[in-house]
Subunit: 367 residues, 2 copies
């Protein structure tokens, strides 16, 4: 079967405040992509909108705003894991031959209901994600000796990367001490251990192999897809809080689809909603041994979260998975400007939802 | 490429009142399907939830309720056209090889926000669908001489069919006079020209060709898919209100994918949200000439809306497209009981959203 390529990509500036609706926000990166192809015969076949916001027929509204009349238009969600799910739907729509191409846009607003998990009454009043993140952190510290300073250094690294990203929300470099001194939320997590739910939108244009080569000189290819759904409620996610099981399953699936190993990954976007989640992702994606995640923060072999991750860039829930794919695409194409990583050929996206209730891993290759 | 089959199907009883949540409603038909396969090694790969209700990560909640841990779980919506969109996503997920099978469930509640079109301010205060339906009816009457009695006879036919359907909401046979005498809503439409937004859920299990043959003795196959998105706002849908343009485009696409003609269709589920929409669908799907829809109501060559359509069965927005596919599947398999149509081999599903803003057509075959 023909491959599916990323033809183009764009992201808006992530913000704390906006006067735009979700649908208007969604148009920003799409307009940039469509503008670049306006003198071609590109005709958009399908539009996928990923958002956790309370919208009705949002994908069709976005299509109308953009002046598009696609064959297919769908809005979809699966919490923080919505963006990469939209990419997978678009991928399969192209792979199956139903569409030649797909515009995938993720967009969300700070006020989205997706930021609290009210359905899961087993959480009691602990509906905010920081509560489960604190449990993961406690278990990792106890079992593997991971330290609060190691967690803090995840934020320090990602904020340093975000300093170079003009679309990031947090562009101020900070120190481990800054994180350690920030407001204590839930022991052992501090304010700066947490990503910030914000406004933002990101989009990518996918196409079949022939069209990808026609519409860009630098296509990159979605080679591996792995996905796993554990549960909706925290109490059913896992009895073992030292690992993100859905991430482990999803990455195993993605690696085996491509026959590549973690060692071959040059650049990765990991779902660092909280510092401990990036540390656990190192381990569950096979970048280091189980328990070594704390020490792995300081490594330099793989570029991790070069745009600044969720911690530095901000976390517009439905946009995040797409924003991650935008970054990997730009890095592999050599379009990342002042944060360009040299000689990167193989990239990985790791997107997940609350407490690892589901995870999705994409492997994207230059050749 | 291997075909995609409908392995199994089920629908709940559609109701005016329910104490269940959307996610609980969604489980009803799924449980029936899973129960029938409990002694096999069937493992559900993906779960798609179609709903217009305001839910968060609903597909993952439904998966947990059902005890499933699929690879992929997504909730999606595109208004009244959500159900068939979920089927198309599932189809492409299987066709692309990412999944072996997919459980597609549509569910909605009467109170869903999807029943009013508040985003489209060009409608002014005319947010209820009956306003655009009345415009379509007026134009058709004026241009083609379609009568109020012909429209009324669509409800009479579909209610007669619903009389035989134990899951239908309206099981009382009525006369043309009953429709004509019912409460006038918007000239020329009366209460009984309109479908009723209700509670309900329907599910189908799709699988690849090999597994379809393994898990049922009666697989039927999704052979044709056509889809078209016109616009989100009524003022942009079409300047010509005598036709549903998106339905015409979608059916052209579906027919050309299968190389079959409208004459070969034995049984069809049409989106009769209002009586005039069924009459226009006859024409735009090529069952009769443009303008002849009014007279076509009394034909007997094609069985149309044998379960009772939206007018007789009720219209749970996000479930309707799936409910239509359930009926076609049961008819082609010979499982429709007291409403079984003899010798039917080729079926069609026509699902659309507000004012024809988008349409989707599926062609399903027995062989």
């Amino acid at each position: 079967m023909s491959r599916v390529g990323i033809v183009d990509q764009s992201t808006s500036k992530f913000t704390k405040d906006t006067l735009l609706s979700v649908e208007e926000l969604a148009c920003e990166p799409c307009k940039e992509i469509l503008e670049r192809h306006k003198n071609t015969d590109l005709k958009i076949d399908s539009v996928f909108l990923s958002t956790t916001a309370d919208v009705q027929y949002g994908s069709t509204i976005v299509s109308e705003y953009l002046g598009l009349k696609p064959r297919i238009s769908q809005r979809l969600d699966n919490l923080c894991n919505s963006g990469s799910n939209a990419i997978v739907s678009a991928y399969s729509m192209i792979k199956s031959g139903l569409c030649k191409n797909a515009l995938v846009v993720g967009a969300d607003i700070k006020q989205t209901k997706g930021s609290q998990l009210v359905w899961d009454i087993s959480r009691g009043s602990f509906t905010l994600p920081v509560y489960w993140a604190a449990l993961f952190a406690k278990v990792h510290m106890r079992r593997y000796g991971t330290t609060e300073e190691q967690m803090a250094s995840v934020t320090v690294k990602n904020r340093k990367n975000a300093y170079l990203n003009r679309n990031a929300l947090f562009r101020k470099k900070i120190s481990v001490k800054d994180v350690m001194d920030s407001k204590k939320l839930v022991e052992p997590l501090k304010l700066l251990d947490c990503s910030y739910v914000c406004n933002g939108a990101s989009a990518i244009l996918l196409s079949n192999e022939a069209d990808s080569k026609m519409y860009t000189d630098f296509p990159v290819w979605i080679e591996g897809i792995g996905s796993s759904v554990e549960a909706a409620s925290f109490s059913n996610v896992s009895s073992d809080l030292s690992s993100i099981h859905s991430t482990k399953s999803a990455s195993d699936m993605a690696y085996s689809m491509t026959n590549i190993t973690p060692k071959q990954i040059d650049v990765a976007e990991l779902h660092d909603a909280f510092t401990i989640m990036e540390i656990m992702a190192y381990e569950d994606l096979g970048f280091c041994k189980k328990g070594d995640g704390g020490k792995f923060v300081s490594q330099n072999d793989i570029s991790i979260n070069p745009r600044g991750g969720l911690l530095g860039t901000g976390h517009p829930l439905g946009a995040t998975g797409v924003a991650q794919a935008v970054e990997i695409s730009e890095q592999l194409k050599g379009l990342a400007g002042n944060r360009q990583i040299k000689d990167c050929k193989m990239g990985l996206v790791h997107n997940m939802s609350a407490a690892g209730s589901s995870s999705l891993v994409l492997i994207i290759s230059k050749d």
